[in-house]
């Protein structure tokens, strides 16, 4: 049986999620490896989501937002654009190939493009092989006791 990667898609509500919807209504087929989570804007994507996804067993993470200049929230996608290279550097530090993370612009009318992006990214992750965090001695989370609550700040 060939390797079927698990890919997390984080899609912005206004462009990419609608674009993915359009791909669906247009009966375009894309690999079922992608499982998507909706956020209001690609600017909402906390790098923590990406690390959490890899920790939870994802082999790749695809983030889609509106095209530059087209953001529903004026400039959230630019904020995302700035955070991704930083996250990639951090991923490298953890020994995770930064090519497992990708940022793409998909507009609400680009169902076809969404299909192409997902298909291509899935193939790329497939060729990269499974993310072997387990082999390095890490057990996917279950035992973890949720996420740390924010600590009261020092100025309080």
């Amino acid at each position: 049986m060939s390797f079927e990667p698990k890919i997390l898609g984080i899609l912005c509500n206004w462009c990419s999620y609608t674009g993915a919807d359009l791909a669906g209504t247009a009966r375009l087929k894309y690999p079922a490896n992608l499982m998507s989570v909706r956020v209001m804007c690609s600017g909402r994507v906390d790098p923590g989501f990406i690390f959490d996804a890899f920790k939870a067993g994802a082999d790749g993470v695809l983030i889609c937002g509106c095209h530059p200049g087209d953001c529903h929230y004026v400039e959230g996608n630019y904020k995302c654009l700035r955070r991704i290279p930083m996250t990639k550097t951090l991923l490298q530090g953890f020994g995770i190939d930064p090519n497992r993370l990708r940022l793409e612009w998909v507009s609400a009318s680009e169902g076809l493009r969404f299909q192409q992006v997902v298909t291509e990214f899935t193939e790329q992750i497939r060729s990269l092989g499974p993310l072997q965090l387990k082999e390095w001695g890490y057990t996917p989370h279950q035992s973890e006791a949720g996420h740390p609550e924010p600590q009261p700040a020092l100025n309080q």
């Binding site: 939870a56 200049g69 087209d70």
Partner: protein, 584 residues
């Protein structure tokens, strides 16, 4: 003002004291020449053509005075046409004739005073030394650029201009009674009234004919009073005393609940498309220029004319200039096909010209539009399916003659064609205003990739924006024709009224809030918010989100280093749970 009674040519009349005799005499309908008099300058007799005979009191000796600067006094007796007065005027006229070259003004006066063989004293200097120009420049304008100078080789005095001081207002040429001073383009400095031939271009004008309120405005950068400090003639002539120079520009702040953006569009500039020769060949014009030409109040009075004033024999109308073009705008401007057909109709109606339409697709989509297209076909308009590729002069050697050739491919017959025409009209694209993005930022609404404002939803909320209470109307949201713009404007007004009537705004349940106990007061989020919804509270040393302004994008949530910001309905816990849920 007290009145005094005087007697002019035996008729007793009452005039206000302090008026000059010339005005009193002219009020009676007696014509006295006074070329050196200009009503907005203090009278200063130099031509002496306004001489009259007066006598004060019953038995005083009569004398000759210049009426233009003689103030009336009680009991004054004036004779305007006595022999003595006429003789004085004739002498003054002879004196002037003896110093200048022939002019219409003096020629007519010479005929009037029966001087049969005027002995003109000069061959070409037509100045009559009235000094009106110098006085206007000194007293009214305040530029002090003119002076008399002795011209030795011509044996006369003439006006000398100081080009450093001259502001090219043209007042001297305007007041000159003999047209001795002419207004010409001075090197590369534009003359203020350079567009005189196209219509009045004074410093006071109506902004445009349908302006509301329809009152004239003073353009301070051209007004002599504002640039030089003098003049004020307009306030003198205004019968309603409506002109106040000291009125400052006022900035009024109006509190509103809703805003309708109807900022419109700008015309695409076809100059960069060198193949059409716009700006190079005078008879290649843009659609708006053709429209101005057709306006009865326009530069040609509604006639369709070529650069040389002749009627065109053939006109080509090129569609899709800058629109449906990968190099400029990809979208269709929607209005061009129909106005191009209207142009063809106007051209057929007003001229005998042959009209060619060069189109990609004829988009006659609206009510009655297709019928209009067929009517035009019946009128004999030539329609060619194929975009105009190039406009070239008939012959490069004779390009000044104006004949043009339009090259295109007629895709219906599959032939390359060259059409000789006199005039080419470019149907330019509608494009978003260059300042649309900057204006949009002020209202927190965004522009799309092609520059138009983005509506909240293309189908379900076509007049709303992402900012509550701000609506879109007309072309600022995308190219549309007048019926569509009116429909959208009405919809926007209705939406605005709905909010105003309700008096309150329904908010989305999703918004971000700061949990104060976790906020470190770092203020990173303040700069991240595109809606300026986050402010810093000095007293508590924490940031605060105004939930009415927040649009719930969550950018601040992802940026908060302490995790203090919570996006309602998209909390970190929810998203982490989703991620982990779908991956395990």
């Amino acid at each position: 003002m007290s009145k005094v009674s005087i007697e002019i040519d035996g008729k007793p009349i009452e005039v206000e004291s302090g008026t000059y005799l010339l005005e009193a005499v002219r009020d009676l309908g007696v014509d006295i020449p006074a070329p050196c008099r200009y009503p907005y300058l203090k009278p200063k007799p130099s031509c002496r053509l306004c001489s009259v005979e007066i006598s004060e009191g019953a038995d005083s000796v009569s004398k000759i005075v210049t009426s233009c600067n003689y103030p009336v006094t009680a009991g004054l007796k004036v004779l305007t046409n006595s022999e003595k007065a006429i003789e004085a005027r004739r002498a003054a006229l002879n004196n002037l004739i003896g110093r200048t070259a022939p002019t219409t003004l003096l020629g007519d006066l010479a005929a009037q005073f029966k001087i049969d063989n005027p002995k003109w004293g000069h061959k070409y200097v037509t100045c009559i030394f009235c000094k009106l120009c110098i006085r206007v420049c000194d007293e009214l304008v305040g530029a002090k650029a003119l002076s008399f100078k002795k011209v030795t080789d011509q044996d006369t005095t003439s006006i000398k201009l100081d080009p450093e001081k001259c502001i090219l207002c043209g007042a001297c040429a305007f007041v000159c009674p003999t047209n001795h001073i002419k207004l010409e383009e001075a090197q590369d400095r534009p003359v203020v009234h350079s567009e005189m031939s196209l219509g009045p271009n004074a410093a006071i004008s109506l902004t445009f004919r349908q302006a509301v309120p329809n009152v004239p405005r003073i353009h301070t950068e051209q007004c002599i009073h504002f640039t030089m400090g003098g003049c004020q003639v307009c306030s003198e002539v205004c019968p309603k005393d409506a002109i106040h120079y000291d009125q400052p520009d006022q900035i009024e702040e109006i509190e509103v609940g809703t805003v309708i953006m109807a900022t419109g569009f700008q015309d695409f500039d076809p100059t960069p498309m060198k193949q059409f020769g716009y700006g190079k060949y005078p008879n290649v014009i843009s659609a708006i220029e053709f429209e101005q030409m057709n306006n009865a109040a326009g530069s040609t009075g509604g006639k369709i004319l070529l650069e040389n004033g002749a009627e065109p024999r053939s006109i080509a109308i090129l569609h899709c200039i800058g629109s449906r073009d990968d190099n400029y705008h990809k979208y269709c401007s929607r209005v061009c096909c129909m106005y191009a057909l209207k142009f063809a109709h106007l051209a057929k109606e007003k001229t005998d010209a042959e009209v060619y339409q060069l189109y990609i697709d004829m988009r006659a989509f609206g009510k009655g539009y297709e019928e209009f297209y067929h009517r035009l076909l019946d009128e004999g308009v030539n329609v060619i399916r194929g975009k105009g590729a190039e406009v070239v002069p008939v012959s490069y050697k004779r390009s000044a003659e104006g004949g043009l050739i339009v090259r295109c491919e007629d895709t219906l017959i599959g032939k390359f064609r060259e059409i000789p025409v006199d005039m080419v009209i470019l149907c330019t694209a509608l494009e978003a205003r260059s300042d649309a993005a900057a204006v949009g930022r002020k209202f927190n609404i965004s522009t799309g990739a092609d520059g138009w404002y983005i509506e909240a939803h293309p189908k379900l909320a076509p007049v709303s924006t992402t900012t509550e209470g701000i609506f879109l109307a007309g072309v600022c949201q995308g190219a549309k024709d007048i019926p569509d713009a009116v429909a959208q404007g009405s919809a926007a007004a209705a939406q605005a009224m709905r909010l105003l009537n309700k008096g309150e705004v329904l908010m989305d349940a999703a918004y971000a809030e700061i949990q104060e106990q976790f906020c470190s007061g770092c203020r990173i989020c303040n700069g991240l918010c595109p809606y300026n919804a986050i402010s810093y509270e000095e007293a508590k040393k924490v940031s605060y989100i105004n939930s009415a302004l927040c649009k719930a994008c969550g950018t601040c949530v992802a940026g908060c280093p302490t995790g203090a910001i919570k996006a309602r309905h998209f909390t970190d816990e929810q998203i982490y749970a989703q991620i982990e849920g779908i991956l395990t």
